[in-house]
């Protein structure tokens, strides 16, 4: 029986209650709901971001599969729209030169991978210490340090809500293991969606609200096995794939409630304890898809609505 663990990312826009932190913040904060308790919880964990054996081991192991999903979707769409020639010329470097936004970057686990694959990456997080840790970690890597120097990699302490008020839009917006920690998912999703260029991609990963998810993620992973720190997840905040589909249907990104493969896709992700690794659930496994952890891809229509 597999344990499905949702490692966590930190995110969260919004207001820091700490006065000391406030002194150093110059931007204005989003208006959506704040969850100071969650921010405090993750700030405590921040030192462990890059300990691959620690709290975030599960997340480190999950990361390659998330990157696979991002690459696969970009390649699939590119192949369909630009043809074989495009695919041959791009080879494996489908992200090269694209403007990519990582919302809720945490310690920068996904961000660093996206940057290595050639994306021009902006990574934001609502926890200032996360941003500090992510920046320091990238600066210690000569390749990423030069990306930072020439502007191909930037970390900012801000929220998607604040960013959405700026003019810049992105080819790809990623927000992994974030939405389940947000108090107002609809506002959060709307700001992420806003940041995607027409014809661009939005990719999320999260945990669905099923009894299995409760069992594996909260009961086993947090309470019993202590694989992730207790308090990491709140069951009520888990979001089901159908709710995401429904949201983007109402936003006008998806024409019908049953989205076509070109509009949106949901892929389950399972942890296989005997392999010590995650795996993407193969396509066509409808029933088991998204029982707990899943990835969600949706495409913004090329013509604005």
């Amino acid at each position: 029986m597999h344990r499905l663990i949702a490692p966590t990312r930190i995110l969260r826009p919004r207001v820091f209650s700490s006065a000391r932190l406030h002194r150093h913040l110059h931007h204005d904060h989003g208006t959506s709901t704040v969850n100071a308790a969650e921010i405090a919880h993750f700030s405590r964990l921040s030192s462990l971001w890059w300990d691959e054996h620690g709290e975030f081991a599960m997340l480190h192991r999950m990361n390659p599969h998330r990157v696979d999903f991002v690459r696969a979707k970009l390649r699939e769409v590119g192949l369909e729209e630009e043809g074989e020639g495009w695919a041959a010329a791009r080879g494996a470097r489908v992200l090269s030169g694209l403007d990519v936004l990582d919302v809720g970057c945490g310690g920068g686990i996904l961000t660093e991978s996206l940057t290595r694959l050639g994306a021009r990456t902006l990574a934001v997080d609502a926890s200032e210490s996360n941003v500090a840790i992510a920046s320091l970690h990238a600066a210690a890597d000569p390749h990423l340090a030069s990306s930072m120097a020439d502007g191909a990699l930037e970390y900012r302490h801000t929220s998607s809500e604040v960013l959405a008020q700026e003019a810049k839009r992105f080819d790809v917006v990623c927000s992994m293991e974030v939405i389940e920690h947000v108090d107002n998912p609809a506002a959060f999703l709307r700001s992420c969606a806003e940041l995607v260029k027409p014809g661009g991609h939005l990719i999320l990963s999260t945990i669905s609200r099923t009894p299995l998810a409760y069992l594996t993620t909260i009961l086993f992973a947090e309470d019993l096995l202590r694989l992730v720190a207790p308090g990491t997840h709140t069951y009520a905040k888990f979001i089901n794939p159908s709710e995401l589909v429904d949201f983007f249907h109402r936003e006008g990104w998806i024409a019908r409630v049953e989205p076509t493969r070109r509009e949106a896709e949901v892929r389950g992700m399972v942890y296989l304890p005997w392999k010590g690794d995650w795996a993407l659930v193969p396509r066509g496994f409808r029933s088991s898809v998204a029982e707990t952890n899943y990835l969600f891809w949706v495409r913004k229509p090329a013509t604005s609505l």
């Binding site: 300990d51 390659p64 200032e128 210490s129 500090a132 920046s135 320091l136 210690a140 930072m148 302490h157």
Partner: protein, 578 residues
């Protein structure tokens, strides 16, 4: 560590550093300009032996790696000598390995096999293995077992290849790939942790004064691995009370069959193996007591020739007597002459009723005329009679069992990984040493390529974990099978001899089981791991030898060995004898 300090330490410091980002911080890490300042390399491979060269070759041939990584290989020795290695077509180096079909397919896939001189290699079509005491036999035949590789028209279970031929091919292959720089005649003097936190990179200090900072440091640096010491990885093991004698053997071509069969006889002192290289040359690997190995190395080569022929033919009790004679004479400072040893052997043959027309006669006959004349009955059960030893090819080396406790370094030893003999040293009786190293190289190259394609940090534990998972257990299985086999055959106790003989003879009758056994040992056609047939074969053999196991357990100390080793026996013998 400082990362943690930043995170858990004073908030004000965190914030201060945040404000510095990214421009100020970048300066500390930008590429230094002074000449002996560290130079960054994504992969630094220490060691240009077969494992290191194969890894560099595999990385050099991967497009993803080529576009993204800078690779440096450091070797103490002179690789120019390997590149320029040349031998007449009828002479052979004494370091020969039996490459499994899986190893060959890997070399073919990376494009290196084309650059190995295949004319100097020899496909192994058959193996004959027997018990030194009971004479119980097991035969592996590639044709009847349906084995073969994609690159050979015929059937082969392995291919005997000189190590230098392989290394030269790998170097020629590397010459085509510019993202790999080779630094030979260069020693790694020391390795230090760069920086004072867990995130620091290994800094490799070279004898030419240069310092290389490695994103990933690969220890392909052999048994005494400096990388393993730096990484703080313990290894455990022991020396066998055994040395291996190697030599290139010369003999007349056989009249009725090609020289494509390997022979291995398990003597209580260790196995003696005969590996075909050409119609008139073969390679010897004879594992025996260190004192005997030393004495044999010093005798007249013709004495060694006589002893090799006898070792495949005489009953074990007579071999023991001959070994004592050699040792006595050598200790007395009056080594036996060729004619003395010939007389001794002839005398033993008469004592055992071995007549000169018997295939088991070696001293009382002229080897040349036996090899090229009409062979006596049963000659195919034995290797051809050796006539000479190629001058300068007799050497011996100690045998040991050693396995690192981990393949990937952690903590302050992070960003390190071990391949080949640096990770494991194995008894050569099953010919797995080099194949394990090539398997490591294949797997690590695949793992690094995968990490690059997914934007991973190739030095991170996450990127290296699949390598450790895949190889550690694989290697451990093979190593302990070979070790058990060595111990099982070192016994002369009747119940053990009986049990292992029955097991082997029963196994010998079942081609399907043998095919499964061979496939799982790398002789199968493809690089398919975990062949399903093995499961079947294993349980079949398990059931068959179940009875024998009871007998084995009779003797204390042998219990640990178990007849389960018989199942592994065949597996480890498959396709190699070294």
């Amino acid at each position: 560590m400082s990362l943690k300090r930043v995170a858990s330490g004073s908030t004000s410091r965190v914030l201060k550093q945040t404000r510095l980002l990214p421009s100020r911080i970048h300066r500390y890490y930008s590429t230094p300009t002074s000449s002996n300042a560290p130079e960054d390399s994504d992969v630094v491979i220490v060691g240009g032996g077969p494992a290191g060269l194969a890894l560099a070759s595999a990385l050099g041939s991967s497009d993803a790696v080529k576009q993204n990584l800078k690779i440096t290989l450091v070797e103490f020795g002179d690789l120019e000598k390997v590149r320029g290695w040349n031998m007449p077509s009828d002479a052979f180096s004494n370091r020969v390995s039996s490459l499994t079909n899986v190893s060959q397919n890997f070399l073919e896939e990376i494009g290196a096999w084309d650059l190995v001189d295949e004319g100097r290699t020899c496909g192994l079509e058959e193996m004959k293995v027997w018990d030194g005491i009971s004479d119980a036999r097991i035969d592996f035949n590639a044709a009847t077992l349906g084995l073969g590789s994609s690159m050979t028209a015929g059937n082969q279970m392995a291919r005997l290849t000189e190590n230098l031929n392989l290394q030269r091919g790998l170097l020629r292959h590397l010459d085509q790939h510019t993202n790999v720089s080779l630094l030979d005649n260069t020693k790694v003097d020391s390795i230090h942790h760069d920086g004072n936190d867990a995130d620091g990179w290994p800094a490799v200090h070279l004898s030419n004064g240069k310092v290389l900072r490695a994103r990933l440091l690969v220890g392909a640096d052999g048994f005494n691995s400096p990388v393993r010491s730096y990484a703080g990885i313990e290894s455990y093991g022991w020396n066998y009370p055994t040395h291996a004698i190697v030599a290139t053997l010369q003999h007349a071509p056989r009249s009725l069959q090609p020289n494509t069969t390997a022979y291995q006889r398990f003597l209580p002192t260790g196995p003696i193996a005969f590996l075909p290289l050409s119609p008139t040359a073969s390679s010897l690997v004879w594992s025996t007591r260190p004192a005997l190995a030393a004495a044999l190395k010093q005798t007249d080569p013709l004495v060694l020739v006589r002893m090799i022929n006898a070792a495949f033919r005489l009953p074990e009790v007579s071999l023991r007597y001959l070994h004592d004679r050699i040792l006595e004479a050598s200790t007395a400072g009056a080594p036996l002459t060729p004619s003395e040893i010939t007389d001794e052997i002839a005398w033993r043959e008469r004592a055992h009723d071995i007549h000169e027309y018997s295939a088991y006669a070696s001293a009382s006959v002229d080897p040349v005329s036996v090899n090229i004349g009409i062979p006596p009955e049963g000659a195919e059960l034995l290797p051809p009679l050796v006539e000479n030893i190629q001058p300068g090819t007799v050497a011996s080396f100690p045998l040991r069992f050693n396995h690192a406790e981990a393949y990937v370094g952690e903590g302050r030893g992070a960003r390190t990984v071990l391949v080949g003999d640096a990770a494991h040293t194995i008894h050569p009786l099953a010919g797995q040493g080099l194949n394990l190293g090539l398997g490591d190289a294949e797997c690590l190259a695949r793992c690094i390529t995968g990490a690059v394609q997914r934007g991973g940090d190739i030095g991170s534990h996450t990127a290296l974990l699949p390598y450790a998972r895949e190889r550690y257990f694989e290697n451990h299985k093979m190593m302990s099978a070979v070790d058990k086999l060595h111990k099982l055959y070192a016994s002369t106790a009747p119940p053990v001899v009986w049990a292992r003989s029955v097991g082997v003879e029963v196994l010998n009758e079942l081609d399907a089981l043998k095919a499964g056994v061979m496939a799982s040992a790398g002789a199968g056609p493809g690089p398919g791991r975990g062949d399903a047939s093995w499961g079947m074969a294993a349980s079949g053999v398990e059931a068959l030898v179940g009875g024998a196991r009871v007998v084995t357990a009779v003797r204390d100390g042998v219990r640990a060995v178990g007849v389960g080793a018989l199942q592994q026996l065949a597996q480890s013998l498959a396709g190699r004898s070294r």
